[in-house]
């Protein structure tokens, strides 16, 4: 193990390390802690300039209810749910199929097609912006929930396919081979042999795609204009304009927007990290 485990050093070094950890953490999360503290302050503190010290009173309930009653935050949150959930379902489902095809069958264009999905996943959004926006306007999908989740699902299919293909490729191929010898139909092999084995990959992709799409801001701006279809990220920006200098409300709204991905991360931490670090070890 590197660096040398701290248990093997002197008790003094160990104690110093243990004591330094919380300090380092607070320093690292200082911006976040500051905004957390701001979100529970009263307007009085903000106006009197007490923005960094301890709050003179706690207005946690007032602030968070104010966000919901004085703005369309609830609508934005719900829109985000309506956009992310179908995106996850569609892109993961398509990627299971495509990843299976690219990992299991040996055909000439398998690798070029795989690289197409990989490359598509790296391109800048701006190169897609005008055509996708134009297409959405033409088909009546502009400023709708469906317009957003269809795009996200298609785009995230690239990443999901990359992930699934590599995951399935790492499974023992004998499983498929012996099923074929038994004469089992190809779709049955997919459904009964491979799909149960890729469950961890599905879980990892689900949490990752949920987080990516929940945090999307660019497409929310490109594909929506009104309140009816805006997700919370774009909503928070709108609130920022609406609550000028009401930093306690802006902070509360930002933190609300961050809760679902954060909850998702803490609940499914293992899968989340397994997904993000795919390929980081050989």
């Amino acid at each position: 193990m590197f660096p040398r485990p701290i248990e093997k050093s002197t008790p003094v070094a160990r104690a110093a390390y243990q004591a330094f950890l919380p300090f380092a953490l607070i320093l690292w999360l200082l911006p976040l802690l500051a905004i957390l503290l701001t979100s529970i302050r009263s307007a009085k503190d903000i106006n009197s300039g007490n923005v960094f010290g301890w709050p003179s009173e706690f207005a946690i309930i007032e602030n968070y209810t104010a966000v919901f009653t004085q703005s369309a935050a609830a609508q934005y949150m719900w829109n985000s749910v309506l956009i992310t959930v179908p995106t996850v379902a569609i892109s993961v489902a398509l990627a299971c199929l495509a990843g299976y095809a690219l990992a299991i069958y040996k055909f000439r264009v398998a690798l070029p097609l795989f690289f197409l999905f990989v490359a598509g996943n790296f391109i800048p959004f701006q190169i897609l912006m005008v055509p996708v926006r134009d297409m959405s306007v033409q088909t009546g999908l502009y400023d709708t929930i469906a317009g957003q989740f269809l795009f996200h699902a298609a785009f995230q299919t690239g990443f999901c396919t990359l992930f699934m293909r590599n995951f399935i490729k790492a499974l023992p191929f004998d499983l498929v081979e012996s099923a074929r010898i038994e004469g089992i139909a190809e779709w049955k092999i997919f459904w009964y042999v491979v799909l149960p084995l890729v469950r961890p990959a599905i879980a990892a992709l689900a949490v990752l795609i949920f987080t990516f799409v929940w945090n999307d801001f660019f497409w929310a701006n490109v594909l929506t204009q009104g309140e009816s279809a805006k997700p919370i990220t774009a909503g928070v920006r709108a609130l920022n304009g609406q609550f000028v200098n009401n930093w306690h409300l802006v902070s509360a709204a930002s933190l609300l927007a961050a809760i679902p991905p954060v909850a998702c991360f803490f609940l499914m931490q293992r899968h989340f990290i397994a997904g993000l670090t795919l390929g980081a070890v050989k």
Partner: protein
């Protein structure tokens, strides 16, 4: 009867015979069609559109009003100072964002211990990556605020003297005014990059933590017996083993640097005076502005950005291809 059992079909159907050739396409078709419509075809449409001038409108007959201008959009880009500022800022992003890789490694090394509560610390250090860049942008926008942000407050504590006037109002007299980072054309971009580094370091850290978990213990021990330690051990024994993690960290950092949009849109909207624009944001600003849409010109900016990205993508794909060849 017996004949039928022995030969259920005189000759197996074409589909049966070619089942292994047809099956992958059946599995691939939904994803391919979807991906083609929303990703592959739009790329070529954008490239094509960059040779047109178009405000996004259609004539009454349903024909687009786009007008062919050839390379005029690119000629205009060449003379556009905002384009060059954006490009320069993109380069600044690319270079400075790379700091996330060594810094992420540094934090990973710091956290790669097994004392009690370590799991908690690791996940809390990773925290900034999970929250949306919009929120990170807002947090730092407030953090940098010279009047009531953290920077302003700390500044006041160091350089300002608090005085209470006759009316009982508190005023501050400062030996030098607090820096307004995001309003300064020279510093704003660096302020945004610093904010962007925060989640990116967290991402690189988690990659390295996973990598460090899988470093071969026997090699470390062997090197230790040979007297290697500290920086030498890190550089000659550990870092080479972390190569896959480093590769991914570099890939995601390059992509992240070139994709930076959210924070700029939130913190400065490209200002002051366009000094914090990057190509991704400038493209958006040009294509969808208050003064009407300029899809053609926007597409030419997007094409330049795409070209830069393509350079990196080709390298990444080439590396992946080498691995595929070597792997199996």
């Amino acid at each position: 009867m017996t004949d039928a059992v022995q030969h259920p079909q005189a000759a197996p159907s074409w589909l049966k015979r070619n089942k292994l050739a047809v099956a992958p396409w059946i599995f691939l078709i939904p994803a391919l069609i979807f991906f083609a419509i929303y990703v592959v075809i739009p790329i070529f449409e954008s490239l094509w559109l960059s040779l047109y001038e178009w405000n996004g409108l259609y004539g009454p007959d349903g024909e687009s009003t786009a007008e062919w201008v050839g390379f005029a959009n690119y000629a205009k880009l060449w003379d556009d100072p905002n384009f060059w500022t954006s490009l320069r800022n993109n380069i600044a992003w690319l270079i400075l964002y790379m700091l996330a890789v060594p810094l992420g490694l540094f934090i990973a090394l710091f956290l790669n211990q097994t004392v009690t509560g370590m799991r908690f610390y690791k996940s809390m250090f990773f925290f900034p990556f999970v929250i949306s860049q919009v929120v990170v942008g807002l947090i730092f926008g407030w953090f940098y605020n010279p009047d009531f942000g953290v920077v302003g407050t700390v500044w006041k504590a160091i350089f300002c003297e608090e005085t209470t006037n006759i009316l009982g109002n508190v005023t501050f007299t400062c030996s030098r005014p607090a820096p307004d980072i995001l309003s300064s054309p020279e510093w704003a971009t660096y302020g945004i990059i610093a904010a962007g580094l925060w989640p990116q370091i967290a991402y690189c850290m988690i990659l390295y933590l996973t990598g460090l978990n899988n470093v071969a213990a026997d090699q470390i021990e062997a090197a230790r017996l040979d007297g290697a330690k500290g920086w030498k051990m890190l550089w000659y024994v550990v870092v080479p083993q972390l190569k896959p993690a480093t590769f991914i960290a570099v890939v995601v950092t390059v992509i992240g640097a070139l994709r930076s949009f959210d924070m700029i849109a939130i913190m400065t909207q490209g200002g002051p005076f366009g000094s914090t624009n990057v190509l991704s944001h400038y493209m958006y600003e040009v294509a969808i502005s208050e003064y009407g849409e300029r899809y053609g010109y926007g597409s030419s900016v997007a094409t330049v950005l795409f070209g830069i990205m393509l350079f990196f993508i080709s390298y990444f794909l080439w590396r992946m291809y080498q691995d595929e060849k070597g792997g199996r």
